[in-house]
């Protein structure tokens, strides 16, 4: 269970993020403006801060500065409507752990949060486990029943994305965007995703492959039987 502060002034977006993250059993606190965010980071300890740069009453980057000045260890993920490289670099230079441009998929945000938390808490040494499957995020290796399996880069990313978003319906669009970013619009059909998923299923063998399930005909869901 993680305690996450969502500093976002758009209440609707804030609600959606909270709903999505709380389903995993996380506790989400909300801050709807600059001062509320400042107040809360001053008062409480969070495992992670999701920070909007353009808060109505102030700049999110200033909150980041305050955090770093106070030597806080809380990792920060910036979400911004501004897609400029400079802003991104500035945010990362100030010590943010990741930067996500609006609009984003909640599954993507979730997977970034997991990655940041892994890096922060366990120095990247954490093993992610799901029944028979385990992933060593440091060496980027997956194991089924403790025997390593050879995955391509994309197959590994796919598996990690599935496990961090377990129990969620992932549409082909979301998967494509996670794997290929801006280029995903090039694919006229998503057959290539089907190919990747099929390969992944085969490599995970009977034992691990069964967790990748089809949802609503064209989407996927990673879950127990």
């Amino acid at each position: 269970m993680m305690k996450i502060l969502i500093a976002e002034d758009e209440i609707e977006l804030q609600n959606s993020i909270v709903t999505y993250l709380e389903r995993d059993g996380n506790v989400c606190e909300r801050a709807s403006d600059y001062y509320e965010a400042l107040y809360k980071i001053d008062l409480y300890e969070y495992d992670l801060l999701v920070l909007d740069i353009n808060l109505i009453t102030g700049n999110g980057l200033d909150i980041l500065r305050v955090l770093k000045r106070n030597k806080s260890q809380t990792p920060v993920i910036i979400i911004s409507a501004n897609n400029s490289l400079d802003d991104k670099l500035e945010g990362l230079d100030l010590g943010a752990d990741d930067y996500l441009t609006k609009p984003f998929h909640l599954a993507e945000l979730n997977s970034r949060i997991r990655a940041v938390l892994r890096r922060g808490k366990f120095g990247g040494m954490e093993r992610i486990e799901f029944n028979e499957i385990s992933i060593d995020t440091n060496s980027r290796t997956a194991y089924v029943d403790n025997s390593p399996i050879v995955l391509t880069r994309k197959e590994y990313d796919l598996l990690l994305f599935f496990i961090t978003n377990k129990g969620r319906v992932l549409s082909k669009e979301i998967i494509a965007e996670h794997l290929w970013g801006d280029h995903s619009d090039l694919a006229d059909n998503f057959d290539f995703i089907y190919v990747h998923i099929n390969n992944l299923r085969k490599k995970l063998t009977e034992t691990g492959g069964k967790y990748i399930k089809t949802a609503y005909g064209s989407g996927y869901k990673f879950m127990e039987d």
Binding site: L13, N83, E173
Partner: protein, 419 residues
């Protein structure tokens, strides 16, 4: 109506007019002077002849002798009177020992009952010489005056028009994208001053409009991100919430796809605006071929169409690395999007040029429109219609040239990196 008119520089044009008018006036006045003087001189000679003639007549009347002084004067007795004759004639002049032209007046008169023909002559050469001397000196004076006036006029013109020419250069170098307003030279000529005011007002207005337009594009793209983010997040929560019908799921993912399109579009519009705003100032030396290789590798994972990098020479350019990546990626993705019949895409990097060719059915109808925003040759929904516009902007920014041609069933896009 729109006939092509030959363009002549202003000073040259006015000088030319001056030259022609001056020349015509000069020649015309010389001709007039010549004839006028000739008539005057002839009248003078005639008057002189008549006066001599009347003197001779008088001397005969007073019982003078036969008056002979050839060729200047001759008196001959004749039987009957005739009409007087005035003519030019050639007569041998013993004093000059040659034929000379004379003006000759023959009159008939009866003096003391005897009929005489009195002929008096005057040398024409003399009056011709005077005529020539006058006309030539006139011509010389007027020529000197004319040349003087011509240069004076030219230098005056240059001086008077100087502010105009300077401001013209200013306007030529005026760029919409530059931040500085146009600076015009003031002049004591009212019309020029008015022209300056109008130009300044006009350019300021255009600059303001352009700035507003850019700001608008930026704002719209920017402000759209948040609502899009909200829609996207809500859809994801709906999909993960209550159990849905398959058709409902299809509808929702289809909305997600549209959101993605919108997102792509606003991202690209913002990028275009940024390039236009000159916000990419970092330059580094990089190899385009290497960038292409990287992009081709990325694309080969998504696309079922394979990409052949046939000739791969290094092309070193000085540019922003992000823009280099965008340039290569847009060119290749354009080729993938519009390739037909699953034929391989061919990429060549050679002699400072990159050519990317993809199969197509027929040449593009309006190649000049290719690089305009939102121009699509076919209505493929895959395209945002901004990819090539961005490529063109990047090329313009660094002075590269992009060209298109259709050959052997392939669309070829060539970017030349040689400035």
């Amino acid at each position: 109506m729109n006939k092509k008119i030959k363009k002549i520089p202003l000073i040259q044009k006015t000088s030319k007019t001056f030259l022609w008018i001056g020349l015509v006036l000069m020649l015309g006045s010389t001709v007039v002077l010549y004839y006028y003087l000739r008539v005057v001189l002839q009248a003078e000679v005639e008057e002189e002849l008549r006066s001599t003639e009347s003197r001779i007549e008088k001397s005969i009347e007073e019982g003078g002798m036969d008056y002979q002084l050839p060729p200047v004067a001759e008196v001959v007795k004749v039987d009957k009177l005739d009409m007087e004759i005035l003519k030019d004639t050639l007569i041998y002049d013993p004093s000059q020992n040659e034929l000379e032209e004379f003006r000759e007046l023959s009159t008939f008169s009866s003096i003391n009952g005897q009929n005489y023909r009195i002929t008096v002559r005057a040398l024409v050469v003399e009056s011709e010489n005077i005529l020539l001397a006058v006309v030539l000196s006139y011509l010389a004076i007027i020529l000197v005056v004319f040349i003087f006036l011509f240069y004076l006029n030219k230098s005056r013109n240059q001086k008077v028009w100087h502010p105009f020419f300077r401001n013209l250069e200013q306007m030529k170098s005026f760029s919409l994208t530059s931040e500085t307003p146009i600076e015009l030279m003031d002049s004591d000529i009212l019309e020029f001053s008015e022209l300056n005011d109008e130009m300044t007002t006009l350019t300021n207005k255009v600059r303001a409009d352009y700035k507003n337009l850019k700001q608008y594009t930026e704002d719209v793209s920017h402000e759209m991100q948040t609502p899009l983010a909200i829609i996207q997040a809500k859809i994801e929560n709906v999909i993960n919430g209550e159990m849905l019908e398959d058709t409902q799921y299809e509808q929702l993912t289809s909305i997600q796809k549209d959101i993605q399109r919108l997102t792509q579009m606003t991202k690209r519009l913002t990028l275009l605006t940024k390039i236009e705003n000159n916000q990419f100032l970092k330059k580094e030396k990089l190899d385009i071929s290497r960038q292409l290789k990287k992009n081709i590798q990325d694309f080969s994972e998504i696309s079922t169409i394979s990409i052949d990098f046939e000739i791969c020479e290094s092309i070193w350019v000085d540019m922003d690395s992000f823009l280099a990546q965008v340039l290569c990626s847009n060119l290749i993705s354009n080729a993938i999007k519009y390739s037909t019949g699953h034929k391989n895409i061919l990429v060549n990097a050679q002699n400072g040029k990159v050519t990317i060719a993809n199969a197509g059915e027929k040449a593009i109808r309006h190649p000049e429109m290719l690089y305009s925003r939102f121009y699509r040759e076919s209505d493929g929904a895959k395209s945002t219609g901004l990819g090539l516009a961005i490529v063109k902007r990047i090329c313009d920014l660094y002075g590269f040239t992009i060209s298109y041609h259709f050959e052997a069933g392939m669309h070829h896009f060539t970017v030349s990196f040689i400035e």
